[in-house]
Amino acid sequence: MIWKIFLFLLLCFVSVAGISFPIVDNPQAWYEFPFIKGLEENAKIIFFHVPTAWLTVIAFFMTAIYSFKYLRKKNLDDDAKSYAAAQLGIIFCILATVTGAVWAKFAWGSFWSWDPRQTSIFALLLIYGAWFALRSSIESEEKRATLSSVYAIIAFVTVPFFIFILPRIMTGLHPGSADDTNAGPVIDFKMNSNMQLIFFLSLIGFTILYFWMWRLGYKSLIYRDKLNKQLLLRG
């Protein structure tokens, strides 16, 4: 219970702070963000867009972990967990793409410009879209769980390359690209410590939110399966 209240307060604080804290030339107080040339208020997207991409990685990671668990123990509950995680993963993947595209229209001039990160998230969408197609095409429960588990583990191998490596070694528009003069992890990019604090609080908040949503998701799947089995036994 207490963590739900904590999460509520945290996300309220992050939303309010992320949108309304002022941007000034020379930040002094703890609530002031630095002026970043060319970005200005646009820089605040980092508090909401990056967590969605971060949750995509976590969700697909959980998918791979529970797929692996399923293959070892053959427990269908693990399959439900990996399915719920993948559902969230694809939702946040789409959110990261859409929020990025809307923002890019105003900051970079067009919705889509095949920046390395845009290209790689598009590839991820295709890879995990195929995972859902694969699942829905198999009738047998065990067969579906086994095949999709194998696919999910192989698919996750591509995630670190697409999210962490490829966009850093290629030139592009995102901060942290190879031609970015502030090269290095994206979070170091011209952010002062106030901005970093809100950014990390936002990451923590969204991560807790993810685990809450995931738990509700897999519980409902598991109960549905249990109920169906009971009905089958009775009928």
């Binding site: 949108i19 997207i45 909401f48 929020t99 799947l221």
Partner: protein, 45 residues
């Protein structure tokens, strides 16, 4: 459009709204699934 270009803070707000729409859609989906479970159990809801 021009208004949004000059007042970038509203773009940030739109983005937050898009994120909440995504979370809302997930909850919607979850609600449907739970309603189906309730129906199968036989509770009128």
């Amino acid at each position: 459009m021009e208004f949004l270009e000059k007042n970038a803070i509203y773009i940030v707000m739109i983005i937050v709204l898009i994120v909440w729409v995504g979370v809302f859609l997930y909850l919607w989906n979850l609600d449907k699934r739970i309603k189906n479970i309730e129906k199968e159990i036989g509770e009128k809801k």
